[in-house]
C-alpha cells in the first residue's frame, strides 16, 4: 500500500540556521504517527513546510489519497494542500474568534462547496440545497466532537479544551484523509487528555483518517501512536514503534541529557 504522506530529504534553512536536515517521513493509511522531540527541534517547521506555509529549501513531499495517485505538494499554497485532503490544527489556537462555533466549522466546509457570487445573489435551488447541507454537515461534525452545547457561542467565549476540540472539528470539516494535529493536548489536564485520546482513536476508526501528531505528553504519544519519529536540532535521531523508542539510547540522551557519571 502506498504511504498516504511521503516526505524525503526535506531540508529547511532560515538564513544560516538549518531548521530541518534531510528528514524522511512516511504515514500509511489508517496509521497514527507521532513526531516528537525537544522544543525548537523543528517539529512545527516540518508541519509548515508540508502544508505550504513555508517553501522548503530542498526535498520532495507527496500526498496520496487512498487508492489514488501520489501528488507532489511542493509549491502548493496552503488552501490547495487542504483541498488535496490534508488538514491541520495550530500549536497556538487560531480560531475565528468573533464567529460562532457553527460558523467556524462551516468555514471548514468552504473548499467542498461550489456556490459562487451569482449563486449567492440569486440562490438557485442548488445553492439553497448546498446551504442546508453545510449547516447539517457542520452540526453533525459538532455532534461527533461533542460541541453541540456551544453551537451558537462565539469561539472566543469557549473554555480552552473546547477550543482545542473545535479546531479539530474545523479541520475535519474539510474532509481530509490525513489530519495533522499540532500539540492538541497542550495545556490540558489528565482527564481532558484521556478524553482526547479516545476522541482521536474514534476519529481514526469512524472517519478513516490517518493522523500525524506532534505532542509532548509522552503518555498520550505512547498510548496512541503506531509509529514514532524523534527529531532533535532538525535531524531525525530515531524511528520505530513506541517500545523501540522508549529504549532507544539516542532518544533518552536527547530528552533527559547525559548521565553525570556515565
Amino acid at each position: 500500500m502506498k504511504p498516504v504522506l511521503d516526505v524525503n530529504q526535506l531540508t529547511m534553512d532560515f538564513g544560516g540556521l538549518r531548521a530541518l536536515d534531510h528528514i524522511d517521513l512516511q504515514v500509511h493509511p489508517g496509521e497514527i504517527v507521532a513526531l516528537i522531540g525537544p522544543n525548537g527541534a523543528g517539529k512545527t517547521t516540518f508541519f509548515n513546510c508540508i502544508t505550504g506555509i513555508y517553501a522548503p529549501t530542498k526535498g520532495d513531499m507527496f500526498l496520496t489519497r487512498p487508492q489514488g495517485e501520489p501528488k507532489r505538494l511542493n509549491g502548493l499554497k496552503p488552501n490547495r494542500v487542504t483541498e488535496r485532503g490534508m488538514a491541520r490544527t495550530f500549536q497556538n489556537i487560531r480560531l475565528f474568534q468573533n464567529m460562532t462555533v457553527l460558523e467556524n466549522v462551516m468555514i471548514g466546509r468552504h473548499c467542498r462547496l461550489h456556490t459562487g457570487i451569482p449563486g449567492a445573489i440569486f440562490r438557485p435551488p442548488a445553492s439553497r440545497r448546498e446551504e442546508k447541507e453545510v449547516v447539517a454537515d457542520s452540526y453533525a461534525m459538532l455532534e461527533k466532537i461533542g460541541l453541540t452545547r456551544y453551537v451558537n457561542e462565539f469561539a472566543k467565549n469557549l473554555p480552552y479544551g473546547a477550543q482545542r476540540r473545535l479546531e479539530i472539528a474545523r479541520a475535519l470539516a474539510t474532509e481530509p484523509f490525513l489530519l495533522l494535529l499540532d500539540e492538541p493536548a497542550a495545556g490540558m489536564n489528565a482527564q481532558e487528555t484521556k478524553a482526547l485520546d479516545e476522541l482521536i482513536l474514534r476519529l481514526r476508526s469512524d472517519m478513516k483518517v490517518s493522523i500525524l501528531l506532534i505532542e509532548h505528553d509522552m503518555k498520550l504519544v505512547m498510548s496512541l501512536s503506531d509509529r514514532i519519529y524523534v527529531v532533535d536540532y532538525g535531524k531525525k535521531i530515531a524511528e520505530g514503534n513506541p517500545e523501540e523508542i522508549k529504549s532507544n539510547p539516542a532518544v533518552i540522551k536527547a530528552y533527559l541529557g547525559e548521565d553525570i557519571d556515565a
Binding site: 464567529m99 460558523e103 468552504h110 445553492s127
Partner: protein, 407 residues
C-alpha cells in the same frame, strides 16, 4: 452634586485651554497690512467655554467607562437598542408601513432641495454598502475607494459624450468597468496588510484622479464634462422637479437592490469567507479558502457599487470634473461605514443619512459648518467607537435543523 475637587479640575482645564489657544485666538495677525489685533475677550470666551464643557466631558466619559465596565463584568453581549427594537414584531410592523409611506410620499411633500440632498445621501448609502464589503466584511482598509466612484462617473460621462449612451445603458457598463478596475487594482495589493494596504489604495485613488486631471485628450482635464443627461423615462421631457423626483425613485430602487444583494452575499459562502479573512488570514487559508480569490472578489464587488453610485452621481449633477473625486471623498465614505457600524448594513444606512444630511442642516451655521462637523466626528467616535449600530454582527443562529437565519 459638583464637588470642590471637580471645580478645581475644571478650572485647571480652562486655564490650560486659555494658554493653548492664546496665540491663534487672541492675536489676529495680518502680515499684509502689518497690523496686529488683540482680542482678549476671545480668550475669556475660551476659558469660560472650556470650564463648562469640561464638566460635561468628564460626566460623559465616566458614563462611557461605567457602561463599558458593566458590559465586561456581566459578560453578556449587550445588544444595542436599535437591533433589540428591530427584533420584536409588535414594533416593526407599524414601522414597516411608516417606511413605505414615507418613502413614497417624500418627494411630493418636501421641497426639491430636501429631495436632492436625500438623493445624495442614498448615493452614499449604495457606495457605503459597497465599501462595507471591503472594509466591514473582508477587513481590507481601502483609502482609495473614490477611484471606482470616478470610474463609474467618467464612464457614463464619456460614453454619453462620444457615443450618446443613455443613463440606463451606462449603469451596467459603469458597474462592469468598476468591477474590472476593482480586480485590476486588487492584484498588486494582495500581499499587503493593514496600513500598507491603506496607503497603496490611497495612492491608486490619487493616481486615477491625477490622470483624469492631466490627460485632457481623454477626460477633458480640469474643465470637466458638462450637460450629462439625467435619466430619461421612456423619452419623456421631464421638468427639473419631475426629473429630481424620478432620480429619487431610481435611487430608492438601486438602494433596495444593493441592500438585498449585500444581505444575500453576507449570508452566503463567499460572505463567510470574507469574514474569516478578516478574522485570521493564515487560518482562513489553512482551511482551504483561496485568499487571492476572496480578496479580489471583495475588491471587485465593492467597486461595482461604487461604479453604479458614480453613474448616478454624474447624472444627478450633470457636470463632473476631477475635483469631485479627491481623497476627501474616500475619507467621507470610510466615515460613513465606520461611523454607521462596520459590517452592519443597517449601520451603514444610518451612517450615510447622518453624515450627508448633517452638513446640509448645519448650513445654518454657515462658515462654522465644517468646524462643527469635525467636532461631531470626534465626539461620535469617542462615545460610540463601534459606530451607531455597533457590536451586533448578523450571526448565523442555528435553531434546530429547519434552520432559520436570524436577522
Amino acid at each position: 452634586m459638583i464637588t470642590l475637587q471637580e471645580i478645581k479640575k475644571s478650572f485647571l482645564v480652562s486655564l490650560w485651554f486659555m494658554f493653548l489657544t492664546f496665540p491663534i485666538m487672541v492675536i489676529k495677525v495680518n502680515t499684509i497690512e502689518q497690523t496686529i489685533e488683540w482680542r482678549w475677550w476671545w480668550m475669556a470666551a475660551v476659558g469660560l467655554g472650556a470650564f463648562v464643557l469640561s464638566f460635561f466631558w468628564r460626566i460623559a466619559i465616566a458614563r462611557k467607562e461605567a457602561g463599558k465596565k458593566k458590559a465586561e463584568v456581566s459578560g453578556e453581549e449587550k445588544i444595542a437598542l436599535i437591533p433589540r427594537l428591530m427584533s420584536n414584531p409588535r414594533f416593526y410592523i407599524p414601522g414597516l408601513v411608516a417606511t413605505v409611506a414615507l418613502v413614497v410620499i417624500f418627494p411630493f411633500v418636501f421641497s426639491m432641495y430636501q429631495t436632492n440632498i436625500l438623493i445624495t445621501a442614498l448615493i452614499y448609502v449604495v457606495v457605503g454598502l459597497g465599501l462595507n464589503i471591503v472594509v466591514g466584511l473582508a477587513g481590507l482598509l481601502d483609502l482609495g475607494y473614490v477611484a471606482f466612484y470616478a470610474v463609474g462617473a467618467y464612464s457614463y460621462a464619456l460614453l454619453n459624450y462620444h457615443f450618446g449612451v443613455t443613463f440606463w445603458m451606462a449603469l451596467p457598463i459603469g458597474a462592469l468597468l468598476a468591477f474590472l478596475f476593482g480586480i485590476m487594482l486588487g492584484f498588486p495589493v494582495l500581499r499587503l496588510r493593514g496600513d500598507y494596504l491603506a496607503i497603496v489604495t490611497l495612492g491608486f485613488g490619487e493616481i486615477i484622479r491625477l490622470v483624469l486631471e492631466n490627460w485632457n485628450a481623454f477626460s477633458f482635464g480640469p474643465s470637466g464634462i458638462a450637460n450629462i443627461p439625467k435619466p430619461g423615462l421612456f423619452g419623456l421631457k421631464l421638468s427639473l422637479q419631475q426629473s429630481s423626483i424620478f432620480i429619487y425613485f431610481v435611487m430608492i430602487g438601486l438602494a433596495l437592490m444593493t441592500i438585498f444583494v449585500v444581505r444575500r452575499l453576507q449570508d452566503s459562502r463567499i460572505g463567510r469567507a470574507w469574514i474569516a479573512l478578516r478574522e485570521d488570514e493564515v487560518a482562513c487559508q489553512a482551511m482551504g479558502i483561496d485568499k487571492t480569490r476572496t480578496k479580489l472578489s471583495a475588491f471587485a464587488m465593492g467597486a461595482t457599487w461604487a461604479g453604479m453610485g458614480g453613474v448616478v452621481f454624474a447624472a444627478k449633477t450633470t457636470f463632473i470634473n476631477p475635483t469631485s473625486f479627491t481623497i476627501w471623498e474616500s475619507v467621507i465614505i470610510l466615515c460613513v461605514v465606520v461611523l454607521g457600524g462596520m459590517g452592519s448594513i443597517l449601520g451603514v444606512i444610518i451612517g450615510a443619512l447622518v453624515l450627508i444630511l448633517l452638513p446640509e442642516y448645519l448650513r445654518a451655521f454657515s462658515e462654522y459648518r465644517m468646524l462643527v462637523f469635525g467636532a461631531l466626528l470626534v465626539m461620535m467616535m469617542v462615545f460610540r467607537p463601534g459606530g451607531i449600530v455597533s457590536g451586533v454582527r448578523r450571526i448565523y443562529k442555528f435553531e434546530g435543523l429547519q434552520n432559520k437565519v436570524d436577522s
